[in-house]
Every structure is written in C-alpha cells, then in structure tokens.
C-alpha cells in the first residue's frame, strides 16, 4: 500500500513492523551474493575510489601478506553479498519511461512483507565487525536478517520509518567473516511543488 501523506494515522501503519522487532525475516537462511569475489570485480570496485593497495591488485603481494589471493576491500561486503538484479526467466524492465524502475531490486526494501509500501529508500548508517579479509575465489552472503529497531519519523524528505537490521556475513562454507548492522530510512517522499 502507499502511504497517504494526509492520513493522520500514518505512524500506526508501521505498528506491525514495530511489533516484529527481534524477528529474523530470513529465518536463518543464507542469501549468497550473485558472484564469487574475483579479481576483475575487485579492480572495478577500486576504480571509482582510486584505492591503490597491492593487497587488492597484486596476487604475489597478497601472498606475501599471508593470503591465498588478492583480497576484497573490507567495505566490499555490501556489494559482494547483493543478490543478482536479474535471473534467467525473469523480466527486469517492462517500461521505456525515462525513469522507469526495475521490476525487481535487492536494495530497495521491496521484499519487506510488513508495513507500508514505500517508494523512497536510503541507508542511514552502517556498522561492521570484520573477523578476517575475504579473498578472490570465495563467495560470501548474508545469514539472518534480524530487525533490531523500527522508529517511524517524519523528516525533510517525507514520512516513513528508520529500520535497523543485523546479519552475519558468511562464506559459502558457513564461516562467519564479518557482522553488519545497517540502518535504513524507508519513506514516502513529500509531494513537491512543480
């Protein structure tokens, strides 16, 4: 459903989400990233950052520091745990409108089964604990998706709720390599004057 900006009870629409604080929306399942960590994707991750460290680009230097191959930048945890945008047999774009959105996206809160359907979404804060670096050839994903908090709030951009989520970052063998706590704001944007 879409939040009615004029509705006086917009906060109450979030009550089912507030009631679900503590719930693991994944039931403990692991959602792996679309691809294994590989050298080319690491190189592309470095480019817009201009991040120049041989651990990420030079396999011999990485081995000299005790790693089996080049390492993924620590902050790549988010990128490498994202599921694919598209899968065989599915349609991604059904409109030629200039600003048309994909029919599926792993990053826009589309899979939240409770609460208002919102169109605005962005991350507000992130915390990590890193247990060890991830190397090229490994595949990582998220285990668990526990809702830690839900706080409805009206902000300068619209009405919605701040949500906090927790997951373990695991390899495809089940080893925990990091933990992540992510804050997001899911909201319905204000109507803006033409």
């Amino acid at each position: 459903m879409t939040v009615n900006q004029d509705a006086g009870d917009w906060r109450s629409a979030w009550q089912p989400v507030i009631d679900a604080v503590g719930r693991d929306f994944s039931d403990g399942a692991v959602t792996l990233g679309a691809d294994r960590v590989e050298r080319g994707a690491i190189r592309r991750y470095l480019e817009p950052l201009e991040l120049d460290c041989p651990l990420h680009t030079d396999p011999r230097a990485a081995r000299d520091h005790g790693f089996a191959d080049v390492t993924m930048p620590y902050t790549g945890v988010i990128a490498w745990t994202l599921p694919p945008m598209w899968q065989p047999g599915r349609s991604l774009f059904g409109s030629a409108d200039r600003d048309a959105q994909p029919e599926h996206s792993p990053i826009n809160n589309q899979d939240m089964p409770l609460g208002p359907r919102t169109t605005g979404f962005f991350a507000t804060d992130v915390e990590f604990d890193f247990l060890r670096p991830v190397t090229a050839g490994e595949r990582v994903g998220r285990r668990g998706r526990r809702l830690v908090s839900c706080s409805p709030k009206e902000t300068s951009v619209g009405r919605g709720a701040f949500l906090t989520w927790e997951s373990d970052i695991v390899t495809d063998t089940g080893e925990v390599v990091a933990r992540i706590r992510t804050g997001t704001y899911a909201y319905e944007p204000r109507e803006r004057p033409e």
Binding site: P48, L51, T75, I78, Q101, N108, F122, F130
Partner: protein, 148 residues
C-alpha cells in the same frame, strides 16, 4: 601505491591522517554504481533523486564506505587490518557537483583490544559541512618488535 606499512609504535594520538579529496562528477557516481551494484536511481538520476526529496543525485553508501577505507589504507599500508567500523552515519547528502573530503585522526592507541590496535576518527565533509560521521575505524598495525 600503498606499499609501505606503518608500525604501531610510530603512531601518535591526535595524529592526523592525510585527507583524501573526492570530486563527485556524474561520471564517478556512475562508475561507482556499476562497480558496487547499488543501482538505486537516487545515485545517478537527478530527476529521480529530486522526486525523493534530495537536492541532487548523491554518492551511494558503498562509495562513501570505500572512501573511509581508502583514507585508512593509504595511511596504514598493506600490513594493517580493519577490524571494525562504527558511527558511519549519514548526516547530509554527498551530492554530485561537489567535492567530498575524507578526514581522520588517531583517537587512541590504548584500547582494550590488545597491542597494535588503533582507533581512528573518520568523517566526510563537503561544502555544506560534515556529511558522514564522525565515526570510528578500528585497525590493527604490525608491532615493530615483532617484525622479522
């Protein structure tokens, strides 16, 4: 290239890390979206971003996190490890057409996490002020006494 590693014994509290500047043309934001897979239109489409209440398209989370990592990696070298990031909180949009600076300073070399651990305060700012943080990046550095 970040090839020389910093030793723990050489770090001083309040020491400032060399800041890093990130001019943010559309080009960098598009490269970042392709590289870190955050294709949300708010990060590469002005009209869409404005419709969601932002003044312009703006840098995505992974790009900003990577800026923090680069600041710290440039300073500590390849032998250092990052063990935690705290307080990475968005305070304002890092909009296209502006320059985001990443800055940091050593908060403490005496933590409860053992020898070699350093806490670094990191934040982003642009022409509007602080945009992300300040938060803390916890790293471990090699001990000179343990070096071969």
């Amino acid at each position: 290239m970040t090839a020389v590693s910093r030793f723990f014994e050489d770090v001083k509290t309040d020491e400032e890390l060399p800041p890093v500047a990130y001019p943010l043309p559309v080009y960098r934001l598009v490269m970042a979206a392709g590289a870190n897979r955050d294709f949300n239109s708010i990060h590469h489409n002005t009209d869409y971003a404005r419709a969601t209440g932002a003044p312009e398209m703006y840098a995505n989370t992974s790009l900003l996190l990577g800026m923090w990592e680069r600041l710290v990696r440039d300073w500590m070298g390849p032998a250092g490890t990052i063990t935690a990031i705290r307080g990475f909180r968005m305070r304002a949009f890092n909009t296209v057409g502006d320059t985001t600076w990443v800055r940091g300073r050593v908060l403490s070399t005496e933590t409860d996490a053992g020898p070699g651990t350093v806490d670094i305060e990191v934040y982003c700012e642009n022409s509007a002020g602080v945009t992300v943080g300040p938060g803390t990046v916890r790293v471990t550095l090699p001990l000179r006494e343990a070096a071969p």
